[in-house]
Assembly symmetry: D2
Homo-oligomer: 287 residues x 4
Amino acid sequence: MANSKYEYVKDFEQTDVLLPSTWIVVRIDGKGFHKFSDHYQFTKPNDRRALDLMNAAAVEVMKELPDLCIAYGVSDEFSFVFHPNCQLFERRSAKLVTTIVSAFTGYYIYKWSEYFPSMPLQPPYLPSFDGRAVIYPSNGLLRDYMSWRQVDCHINNLYNTTFWMMVLKGGMSNTDAEQELKGTVSGDKNEILFKRFGINYNNEEEIYKKGSVLYRQFELQEPELVQEGEVDNTTVPEGKQSRTQQERLRKLRRKAQVVVDHVDIIKNDFWDRRPWILSGKPGKLPA
Amino acid sequence: MANSKYEYVKDFEQTDVLLPSTWIVVRIDGKGFHKFSDHYQFTKPNDRRALDLMNAAAVEVMKELPDLCIAYGVSDEFSFVFHPNCQLFERRSAKLVTTIVSAFTGYYIYKWSEYFPSMPLQPPYLPSFDGRAVIYPSNGLLRDYMSWRQVDCHINNLYNTTFWMMVLKGGMSNTDAEQELKGTVSGDKNEILFKRFGINYNNEEEIYKKGSVLYRQFELQEPELVQEGEVDNTTVPEGKQSRTQQERLRKLRRKAQVVVDHVDIIKNDFWDRRPWILSGKPGKLPA
Amino acid sequence: MANSKYEYVKDFEQTDVLLPSTWIVVRIDGKGFHKFSDHYQFTKPNDRRALDLMNAAAVEVMKELPDLCIAYGVSDEFSFVFHPNCQLFERRSAKLVTTIVSAFTGYYIYKWSEYFPSMPLQPPYLPSFDGRAVIYPSNGLLRDYMSWRQVDCHINNLYNTTFWMMVLKGGMSNTDAEQELKGTVSGDKNEILFKRFGINYNNEEEIYKKGSVLYRQFELQEPELVQEGEVDNTTVPEGKQSRTQQERLRKLRRKAQVVVDHVDIIKNDFWDRRPWILSGKPGKLPA
Amino acid sequence: MANSKYEYVKDFEQTDVLLPSTWIVVRIDGKGFHKFSDHYQFTKPNDRRALDLMNAAAVEVMKELPDLCIAYGVSDEFSFVFHPNCQLFERRSAKLVTTIVSAFTGYYIYKWSEYFPSMPLQPPYLPSFDGRAVIYPSNGLLRDYMSWRQVDCHINNLYNTTFWMMVLKGGMSNTDAEQELKGTVSGDKNEILFKRFGINYNNEEEIYKKGSVLYRQFELQEPELVQEGEVDNTTVPEGKQSRTQQERLRKLRRKAQVVVDHVDIIKNDFWDRRPWILSGKPGKLPA
């Protein structure tokens, strides 16, 4: 349509294209979820409904964006991962991040009543999320990012489980519990749980200990014998795929089911059995 | 809490702090709203409920973020403006943009049923928005940005009004109407509207012709005699405000009502009477 | 010419275009000039030949790049300033910075023997400079940047003058002088200079106290009565000039002589009399 | 030293840290070398003195910056490569680029008279270079970058050799030669050279056909049997080295001689025999 003399202001938009051939991680975080979870009386230390809702929203985001290869969620945060070959929105950072944040927020609110039927949302206590994109130049680095989030999940969950036991079952004040836990290591917390409350941390639910991994389900592969600890460092394939090829891959990915898993993603096994995640090449659909 | 050996991956996050002392415009856009508006049968050329819903969501965003000075909406897009002095989230671009996108999406969905009571939202037709931040170094440039959006509103609305009259009242096919309008100027469209459909475009509703301006209401000021067309180029004040000062200003702004107006923002009058918008200094609350 | 299959690697270059309508300051700094000045036995606290050589190189850079409006040098650093309207190299940051760094280095080395005839350059003691671009959104901010450098010049020069008097004339060790000066204010240093060495700091040479300002000489203007301390905040003109207009302005600027001045650039007087610097519009050539 | 109220202007400097764990290529280009080479009557199509001077300057840059692993030069351009592990200047882009540009310019001018003894430099015909940094996320991509430059060298040299033969020996006008070469492929040019001028392009000097590769000389390794064409895609090692470790490596690299070679860097052989270039781990010094 017609232009105006003001159109020159468009020149002030600066490009924010992310470096090609790198993994793109979009991590979103609940805004003020401390207050938010208090208001809606989330169970401590973990509220299963809240986590299931996070996962449900994330599954929808994965379905809408077949370019996503994997996602990992813990507490009120979720990391969504695009493959180095991804060309979605020409890899413009703001576009990728806001699309995910908006879709996630939308589904979280839309599905809220399913998971909290007796707790209608009340402004100003509406859930919202911020987000950012970070890029990683190699498979090894992406794996370390994922490991970072899962180790964090473990550390926080062990702490929270112990803390809330001490408060809710042990009758301690928040301050006293916090004070006692200061400087403790994992072993100490495991011991407090076991000796005082008869809890074996290993028996806690996997979703709390491991967080949630979302990916598209293809046929699992027999892992070759890979030595534990050795990082699978196959590099990012350089070069670009044609648009047709991209579209074809997108269609194949759409056909696969998005599953929610609570498993170790630090060791190689997870990745070896699901080579399509790092390779970006869809596997065989399970029978 | 405890750290892990994976924490080094945080170093890959790159800063995206926006240049100090510049206007920050966050513009959000409905994603796939063509399809979306078809699905929920929005009235053509303008659906009043949809615009009111956009404005209602934007009002809530303005209320949540007192750092916002003004916002302008048209169709499925909204521009939110932070003052050059704004220090919110240390001016990190992704944080500012995603916060607005997420809050806006949330309120849009939350309030949907108020405006479309008989049309429940149905996935995958959930509304979502993308966004981006653009910075402008001077008042004159910000004014030109605002003028750009309002001129665009006018151009598009005149076109759409004429087009849909030709189709809905004139019984033309979309293609025929499009063909006839190709290359026409404003005068031509005004004439089509008037001669064929007895419509005087000037009598159309202001919200359609001018879009929606949102700002905090303080006491209007008598505009000094400023010559038409002359741009008020008072510069951006340099230097930084202290945190206390910022907090105080935020409180004052929260007290003011956010109003939705449909007026000319291209000429000086609007800005002269509301000096608090460009100055960033809250005015007197109206009695 | 012919392309190769490797050409896709060009896509990894990321744009670094500087925000339009902002002042661009390219500041360059001598690398390891402490060692360098020792090696060539620069006089302490100021070596007039070295400063003259810096200025001579900067004059050549100004002549080669008529887009530069003003430059300011002190010690082994120089700041070169492009006007907000500047479109040189499409405002690509690396291009602007490296062009200045390379030309400056070249002239510094080329002219070395003129200023240090008895001291031929000897690798690895070749002078080199690094540089960076910083942008400022308003005239007021640019003025504050220039003031920052000139105030720094004064602070450092007063310190160095006092320090080296204490060492060279007063026979103190470096450490003792440093120790005594710790925590002193200007008044203290002025007193040391006057009482111990009979030096009135005000009588020191202007080039040492004020640094060097380079600009194109047009006819000076009568400054209107502007109140001291009030910053001239005329904004950056928005909009773009055509290429022809830019070329015409470049030619006019080339005709003006580049002068080296040692005057106050903090107060308004300097800028009021030379309005072409901030306006970017060449004045009248002096008769 | 003392601060001033103007110091806040430092906040406008924006960080330009390059993504960790990526190859950094700094490519510099002669500015206006067409004119420059005309002025100093460079031999066509290649001036051996000019290329030797470029290489001599580049060798000095490599010596000054032990963080550089390899460099490649052709015509008036040079690419300098930092390893993904490089932490020099905290990987700030402007700092890395300007340091190289300034040092290179300095040595080029300093050594000019050695290579062009009868042609003293005359302003304004001083050589200068611009530069930029580009990052590559994997070894394969870096190899493709290097291949790109070497293929370009070949394409341009074959064209130039043929063109200048036609003009200088064949007596054709520039325009006629250009016209005839339009649309020709390698085979055509080889034939023109051979049939008209009795030149076998394969016998041309390697420096013209292959460009110049600079690297530190350690003991060559027996290449394992690697299939031709297969790219050695060992990934970039993640994680960071300690400062002490970096310093130790720098020292080892300084001890190695920087050699200038004119060999194929597209196939694997070059890289397989010199594994220290991609690994960043210095090899054994040759006996």
